[in-house]
């Protein structure tokens, strides 16, 4: 099956800055995929190259099998991009904006689909309003609508929820999930790791232009060994044997970090020996955020030595 997006040996230099240092990435059709990484890691540069907004220094990208340079017309028809910046054309209303965007893709008589998007994104009562008069959240919805006018099989959202209120965020994700269920491939970048964890099947983590992790969320979470244990004790003192394991002390709670689950027995034994009574105990599994922090901290970047994918 043709991958939705196929990036091969992508390099991008801006002067001396090596923004992308040999990225290889394959996103399968129908996936809900997240690109994660700190600011300046190269996420937007990668998306811009996929979208044809930026030219790669070397390497190639295909969208649904179409090369984004050689077959740019077909590649762009396959792709809908929601840009990070809140951009809009102040000369037009919401509906005009969507009709114009349809036209750019060669679509006439697209009103039925435009009405449907307007309805799904709750823009119906704003359809005749000039773009200038919309709130930031509404402008964001129009950007999403614009990316969908040509029913692209692959949809890229570059930080779509940055600065967006909770209600819109939830509505947006409901809609995007529905699109994914309908067969659209979704690629998003976000700084909210809980969003990525809740929505995506696979993630890639970028650091300084390299992919430092590429896997399913569950594999990534399981890759961090051990767990944390949160304890409330009576009396409220931690046995000295357990002191080395303590990572943080919260009000009335001790949090211990264990390298592996088998250490739990050691913890229990030490508590019994000290005659400490356990009032509360929680075993905390690592989440994507912890994995992210660990991977970003660990990853040693050597020039052009991308992690094999």
């Amino acid at each position: 099956m043709t991958p939705a997006i196929e990036v091969k040996q992508m390099h991008k230099r801006f002067g001396r800055l090596h923004a992308l240092a040999g990225v290889d990435l394959e996103i399968r059709t129908g996936e809900f995929f997240a690109l994660l990484g700190p600011n300046g890691a190269g996420k937007t540069t990668l998306i811009n190259i996929i979208a044809g907004l930026t030219r790669a220094t070397s390497g190639s990208v295909r969208v649904m099998g179409y090369d984004v340079v050689a077959d740019y017309r077909d590649a762009r028809r396959m792709l809908g991009v929601v840009p990070q910046e809140l951009v809009y054309d102040p000369f037009f209303t919401v509906r005009e904006t969507l009709l114009i965007q349809s036209g750019y893709y060669g679509l006439k008589n697209n009103e039925a689909w435009i009405d449907e998007i307007i309805h799904h994104l709750d823009l119906a009562d704003k359809a005749g309003v000039n773009m200038r008069a919309l709130s930031g959240g509404m402008k964001r919805r129009v950007l999403v609508a614009q990316a969908l006018v040509h029913k692209p099989p692959v949809i890229v959202l570059d930080e779509p929820t940055a600065g967006v209120d909770v209600e819109l965020r939830q509505g947006l994700w409901r809609f995007v999930r529905q699109l994914n269920r309908d067969g659209h491939t979704i690629v998003l970048t976000t700084h909210y790791l809980d969003e990525a964890e809740a929505l995506c099947s696979r993630v890639a983590m970028l650091k300084q232009g390299n992919i430092v992790a590429l896997d399913t969320i569950s594999n990534l979470v399981n890759s961090v060994p051990g767990c944390a244990v949160r304890l409330r004790l009576s009396p409220d003192t931690l046995p000295s044997a357990l002191r080395p394991l303590m990572s943080t002390r919260e009000e009335g709670y001790y949090i211990l970090t264990l390298a592996e689950y088998s250490q739990l027995e050691h913890v229990m034994a030490a508590l019994r020996e000290a005659a400490s009574q356990v009032l509360e105990m929680q075993v905390l599994q690592p989440d994507l955020e912890e994995v992210f922090v660990k991977i970003m901290g660990d990853a040693e970047i050597t020039e052009s030595a991308a992690v094999p994918t």
Partner: protein
């Protein structure tokens, strides 16, 4: 074709929605030029035998308005789209660079012609200026506006800030139009300045345009047309290369 027509339509709507500023205002300022210069110079100059200075002035002013507005249309549209960021909607679409080029140039031509025609129709109420050769008038109006529309694309792409665009307008476009024989026939100039004027492509646009009204010109309209056409082809080629390479718009 739908993509191209949509972009053209959008570009037309863009200036038409603010027509007061983009069509009516330049008409008024052109008519002001006409009033002032004709009042000051009517007594002193007779450009061609039997043609009063005011009547001589009108075609030049019309063409100047067309050139300046054609340039303003594509350049200001592009720089606004670049600075506000909404050029991304065009760049994301499957529109080819040729389609983008022709849409912007054609919209500029339409604005140029709208302003030119508007000024002409108003002056008809006060002066007796008839067209003797519509094909020449139309041909030079078309190619002059197209040339400046293409130059506007270059300036709009090149400029990163509004003041850079203003510099291009004030130091390139404005001197070339003012020194192109709008206000005089270059035969009245000293030989050195006459020679220099021959290097100004706008001179040929205005001279040829005037021929369509007076059946008289400083040089043959065929020569003028050839020179202007070559300039248009050269500028278009450069513009297309810039768009194709994504110069300053696809980094």
């Amino acid at each position: 074709m739908t993509g191209f027509l949509t972009l053209l339509h959008k570009e037309l709507l863009r200036f038409w929605k603010v027509g007061f500023q983009t069509v009516f205002a330049p008409m008024v300022s052109t008519l002001l030029y006409l009033m002032i210069f004709s009042h000051v110079l009517e007594e002193h100059v007779e450009a061609y035998p039997g043609v009063t200075y005011t009547v001589f002035l009108i075609p030049g002013l019309i063409m100047m308005a067309m050139l300046q507005n054609a340039f303003a249309n594509s350049s200001s549209s592009l720089i606004q789209s670049k600075i506000t960021g909404n050029l991304v909607f065009v760049l994301l679409s499957p529109l080819s660079y040729q389609e983008i080029f022709f849409a912007y140039v054609l919209a500029s031509v339409v604005r140029g012609l709208a302003v030119g025609l508007g000024v002409y129709l108003v002056t008809l109420g006060f002066f007796d200026l008839s067209v003797t050769s519509l094909p020449w008038v139309f041909l030079f109006a078309l190619i002059g506006s197209a040339l400046l529309g293409a130059l506007g694309i270059i300036a709009g792409i090149w400029a990163e800030k509004f003041d850079q665009l203003a510099a291009f307008q004030n130091f390139v476009i404005l001197p070339l139009t003012f020194l192109s024989g709008v206000f005089y026939t270059i035969h009245s100039l000293p030989p050195f300045w006459q020679g220099l004027s021959h290097l100004n492509p706008f001179f040929y646009v205005i001279d040829g345009f005037r021929y369509g009204f007076f059946n008289a010109s400083d040089i043959s309209p065929y020569v003028s047309l050839g020179i202007v056409a070559m300039c248009f082809l050269a500028v278009s080629w450069l513009t297309l290369q810039m768009l194709k390479a994504g110069y300053k718009i696809r980094h």
